[in-house]
């Protein structure tokens, strides 16, 4: 059974006989720090549990939002996830990182809930997304033929708000970014949230989502470009209004 399948089955509390034989051999997935956290959790250390929740809650909420449209439902899914984490802690054998394991539980619960909530879910969450044909940057922005083929036909215009601080200072620009992220198809939203919003290492994102690094960067680039276009549209609209 590969690492991704182990992580997923472990996350839903299922330990098939074949994995029990190998349970004595721990994967190198856990760092010493994680080993320490797990030991403290299994000893009933409330402080360790509080710290765990503080560390991962944000990522879980954002991940849940890619499966269910409603923030309130996402909160319920994440609360259920934490309950399951508490109840399954003794069954966690360290074959994946703690975060991957927790995310596996979340994804399992969020998918179930997402299917049940489907009639209330916005189109974007179930938007079909063709990885092979979708170009990250709109091809019409480049010259298609001639000596200048591949050169910008419609280049990006410099933004006045060119530093994170300036952009963050504009609540409406930030709102435009957040709306664009919310509108992403689930497969793109997940990678952007984990990698850019939550700062999860690329290798761990691949493990959580069971994708290759190539897939990750194809999706991430498309997600970033869509958000960039949304900010571009907002800022250009603002310029015209001034």
């Amino acid at each position: 059974m590969n690492a991704d399948a182990i992580s997923y089955t472990e996350s839903i509390g299922y330990n098939p006989p074949m994995t029990r034989k190998s349970s004595a051999v721990k994967s190198p997935s856990l760092t010493k720090a994680e080993d320490n956290v797990i030991a403290r959790l299994k000893r009933g250390d409330e402080g360790a549990f509080d710290a765990l929740v503080s560390q991962h809650h944000s990522a879980l909420i954002r991940m849940a939002m890619s499966y269910v449209a409603d923030r309130e439902v996402a909160e319920e899914v994440v609360q259920d996830t934490w309950m399951a984490v508490i109840e399954s802690l003794d069954r966690f054998e360290g074959r994946s990182s703690l975060r991957t394991w927790i995310c596996g539980i979340l994804i399992h619960k969020a998918k179930d809930r997402g299917v049940r909530e489907k009639r209330h879910t916005t189109f974007s969450a179930f938007e079909s997304y063709d990885e092979d044909s979708d170009q990250a940057v709109d091809p019409s922005r480049f010259q298609q033929s001639g000596e200048w083929a591949g050169h910008w036909a419609f280049p990006p215009q410099p933004w006045d708000d060119q530093t994170p601080e300036k952009l963050l200072a504009s609540q409406q620009a930030v709102n435009a970014m957040q709306r664009a992220i919310e509108a992403l198809p689930a497969t793109l939203k997940q990678v952007l949230i984990l990698r850019d919003v939550e700062g999860v290492d690329a290798k761990e994102v691949c493990e959580m989502l069971n994708i290759t690094e190539t897939n990750l960067y194809v999706r991430l680039h498309r997600a970033r470009e869509r958000v960039r276009v949304a900010v571009e549209a907002y800022l250009e609209g603002r310029k015209q209004r001034e």
């Binding site: 809650h57 994440v78 508490i86 109840e87 480049f142 963050l168 850019d196 680039h221 960039r228």
Partner: protein
Amino acid sequence: MKDGPSQWNESGLTCRDVAKQASEYLDDRLSMLTKSLVRSHVASCIHCHTYVGQLRLVRDVAGCFPKPYPSVINRLRLRQHFVRCHSSRAE
């Protein structure tokens, strides 16, 4: 910073090539050779310089969004459940 086919001859990349690899470039996932070719193009092409800068800004601002935390009541419920399940070991 006037760009055109003569600059591309140096890097061997078009603007479309650079735009396609921009995220990998930003996150330092390219090979040394490709990274230096992209860097060379970006240094000589104002539009690609702008594009890469905007993508970097999107990435960096996304990392600054405030983090949601559980409500007080939900956090309390979680703590109570944790204590119920694991308190016998907390000596």
